[in-house]
Symmetry: D3
Subunit: 253 residues, 6 copies
């Protein structure tokens, strides 16, 4: 039995439902999961300011559930700071949906492209790809000018059309052989687009979920030395004492 916590770092109930549907569809029978959102934060993450407002709430909800789960997904394609923060304070695997889909994409084709929402994500995701180290495998990051809040309306057809247009351009103009859907709000759009374009299309939520199952089956969690080592105890001011419990109380070597 594997228990996965899927953290939607924005407060949109629609996103929670999307993640629920996707995880229902792809999780193994032996996997249990729960989707949660921060109690405080923005309703969408459309840039770094939004991310900044979502971080503390994301950490807080993680701390509340961490003891009862075996693996964690931060379901935002922005390469959020919280992925790295949570790895420091847990010995259980934490995974972001961008890095999960990008590394799987590298195993499926020579080059991948990301199709995402507003144009700010062009430079931001280009930077994330560089951070992951796979810039030479990335054909392009293409933006659609969709707002994150566009997702969740009844009518998905125009969203899908906008995404398909850019994905098609990535394949025919940029040399992409694989497409990564660059927003959690696009969860569930993968297979229809894959059929239309005839190239692999990756939903990062599925990728992260399956990677956590893989890690569980193989007995893996992230390294706890150096980059993700547990931070040492320090004084916190005007923050819930729960935050302090995550620190290591080992004497500094």
């Amino acid at each position: 039995m594997l228990k996965i916590l899927i953290i939607n770092p924005n407060t949109s109930e629609h996103f929670n439902q999307l993640l629920q549907v996707t995880a229902d569809l792809y999780s193994l029978d032996s996997t249990e999961f729960k989707v949660v959102s921060p109690k405080a934060g923005p309703s969408a993450i459309e840039g770094v300011y939004d991310e900044a407002l979502s971080v503390q709430g994301t950490v807080e909800i993680f701390l509340e559930y961490e003891p009862d789960f075996d693996g964690f997904i931060v379901a935002c394609f922005s390469d959020p700071l919280s992925v790295y923060a949570l790895r420091e304070i847990s010995s259980k695997p934490v995974i972001g949906i961008a890095e999960a889909s990008i590394h799987l994409a590298c195993l499926l084709g020579n080059k991948f492209s990301i199709v995402t929402t507003n144009e700010r994500w062009g430079p931001l995701l280009t930077e994330a790809v560089k951070k992951y180290g796979v810039e030479s495998r990335c054909a392009s990051v293409r933006t659609t000018n969709l707002r994150v809040s566009d997702f969740g309306k009844e009518e998905d057809a125009s969203l899908k059309k906008a995404i398909e247009t850019e994905a098609y351009a990535a394949v025919t103009e940029d040399g992409a052989e694989v497409i990564c859907l660059g927003c959690a709000g696009m969860s569930g759009f993968d297979k229809e687009l894959q059929q239309k374009l005839d190239v692999p299309v990756l939903d990062g939520v599925v990728c992260a979920l399956k990677i956590l199952e893989l890690f569980h089956q193989y007995g893996l969690t992230h390294s706890k030395i150096l980059t993700y080592s547990t931070p040492l105890l320090k004084e916190l001011n005007n923050l819930s004492p729960n935050f302090a419990k995550a620190y290591s109380t080992k004497i500094k070597k």
Copy 2:
């Protein structure tokens, strides 16, 4: 039900047994697998000449079994040419053990190191890492001066010691946070070493196997456009006609 063919591209029966044990241990109940070797080829792959002698036999055994299996592992850490050749002629996923472990390593720590056999693999695997595009994530490629044929003797202790020595150096001197075992012959050495070093240690055979299961569950196979598109029919001389069956007979666009 998923049927995986594990191709050991050398002719060592010991390697076949190792792969069998590892796959038995980690494959899901719903996965069937078979380990095969080429009928002709070298007993070990210790460089590019050996690889050159193994390629045709690897393709031949693949062609024989391809219709009856759903996914394929080429179980040599050398980033063999055959992985790319086989992707051209099949629409079912083919995966090498080096790329599988390297991309998973990137999800487990900031930097990984590879510990492998003779010193020629230093430059060769450095080049492979660069080809995969993750050179900035690679702390080092360390060699042990072991011969591939050293694996399979009764006594594994000295092999393990040699590997541990280099892996320890990778962690303490090079900044590695994850270790990739750089030879199929090291299959099964992962968990003991992981316990000793307290960092994730990856057996590429397990990684490839689990990635194929993941692809199966998510309905993925490699892209068939551009790099891995099916080659067009051409005349073959003095080769088994089976080789020609793999060509596409579509008219060139």
Copy 3:
């Protein structure tokens, strides 16, 4: 008249005093400045978790003072997320102490090294340097195993010795021609070390302050298109309404 707000993103009063002394020493007569800390947050930033806990408080204090100041320093060497968040919501220049010192270092010598505190900053600052794009100009990131909370004690001699040891090694072994002090807590240590090593030594706080004065004299602020464009209005949950005032209310184009 230029009014600069220096934000110390941790809550250490000692750091505030240090920043006050440094700014007093180097600011032009025509520059006014104020040092502030978040009301809530960690007493030191020793990794990503600490940063995650400091972000919201940093944004909050910024929003409170933004209208009354002309330029802003985020005085933490960690390349904090907040620098980028604040640039989105202000049209006045915001600068981090790491990027300020690193780009000036490139004008003073062929290669620079960073000397910082605990070993986690090795990979983290290496990544930051890569993000700034100047990895080929960086000779090394060296860590001292000092804790951030070590700074501010009466006795600075042992701290200075630890820093000097690594800086000397950077110069003699790594090819560094310039040293960047990699923690705000080292503010004020620059000139003594410069004299000892006979290479330029940069205090990021001074660098950021002088860059803001330069921008003011030349009439510059950061670009407001694409990466740092103002985020669009969205609903916030359980956050102070002040945070929402930063959004643009322009209709999405």
Copy 4:
């Protein structure tokens, strides 16, 4: 007297004739040469699968002639595996036509482009250029959609036109200052195109031939340590015993 063996790794007699004509035209009086093809293999190399089928035959023909020649050309622009395999088993220089022309191109202009056949060579030759390490000198790899088997027909005009179109675009749109002809089948097309475009145009076959003459006059052969060191003896199964003669029988150090 220098004796060069030119190995055409496909089995096309037309290619053999082309190579013969080119070598006749450019070899020094003191150079003797012979053009050979593998006894078994594909009639054209249009991708990795074709290459996989050509490798064993290429090694075999090499082993047959190696004692009687002083230098070796593998006349395929695909950066074939066999170049590296043959270097391991010979102390006489072995050279591929891609690397020969690419490195000379770097001495003739700031950036070069490669004009080649079908679109698969776009990613494959981009990867080869990266392997050679000169990606920053490469303006583009342009494909013509020609088949390798198109070469050798009576009428060359349409082939030349297709190549000229892409070469012209490389010069006027991509910043190329030198053109490398990216297929052995284009041998002999260099000077006419050079005259039309008024930039250097390189035929890799000539480049490799002249490099071997240069090496001979200067007393050079490839390094035999590390990457190209002689492989150690091992058991071969169901392969001609000739293949085993290439191994070193030195005791492993």
Copy 5:
């Protein structure tokens, strides 16, 4: 009091006047400056040959004035050799206008573009950006086909139009968020263009001037170890003995 020597390395009186106007406008009250040109050299620097003809005269004029000034600008955007030569023979800061503007640009936006004169500067400035190490921050180098000698005519409108056209394309097509004016002859065009494009536009002359003031206020000069160490005494033939005075007479260590 800071005394800055602005060296215009060409002999155009118009350029001298431009530099005078710009420095008048932006220098602090406490800064004195003088604009000089070499006594011998080309009237414009439009490539490497022109630069080669300007170097000796630039060094000569520098040697004449060096004792009486505190900081030096080489006012040519070509990353001239003389910047590095002069740093070797002086312990006072020497700065080029290209590197000054490029590093400031990195603090103002995610990516910058350079807009310059004739097309040769496309490859030359791309190379300079790579030398500074910030190639990943450079969106593009765009050329206008203007001649350097076009600057200085009565009518600036058509020059400005040509520059604006390329700068606009850099912003809208290449992702530039900051523009660097890529020729000293464009000095003074910054603010008008900045207003039109609504992104920061940098005049390298101002940037270099302000950086020298910053260095002065912070007590910085370039590193004198390794790359910019003083050259050792050697015999000069048929050159003014002034050139020899710059050598160090220390015994070689």
Copy 6:
């Protein structure tokens, strides 16, 4: 008949003799050559200042001889500016000894190292290698602390020993498989060192000479578009009118 001008850009008669001996030894019977030095300039080039003093004299001597020769070597390992300047003003091939040896080294082994004189060449030649684009092929640049003026004394043994020591370290510690001698003064030391180290050792003077012969036999010269296009006519002040004759008088397109 091919007539090569070998320009020693320093004024050392010893260097002229060395170049004469080397060219005598390796030039083909059909090659004539002449060694010349500038009339004015430094007796050794040990850094950028020395190079700055040598440039004008190098151009001058080139202009004097250019009409009577077919190819040109600039015999200094510093990647001198003059190579690029001379290419602009001639349609006959001009080659530097560094780039000639470095590109040939890439054809002889996986990685090369440069062994050179004083420590300033460490950063300078690292930068040159990056400019040529082959940084990933360079194992190291090693310096010997020799002065350029040390070459030419009766006793070569200690020089050779210093070079051998670093070359040996490059091979055994840095992974070099080929050695490039990084100073024209080392001309003639190649074969003895090659025998001792058992790896290829390249004398850049021989490499440049043989590359010019190769270009001659194949009918090649450098590209004359874009980077090396002929500069347009402009006014020169206080320089010999010979310098102006090199300009193109074509109307600007």
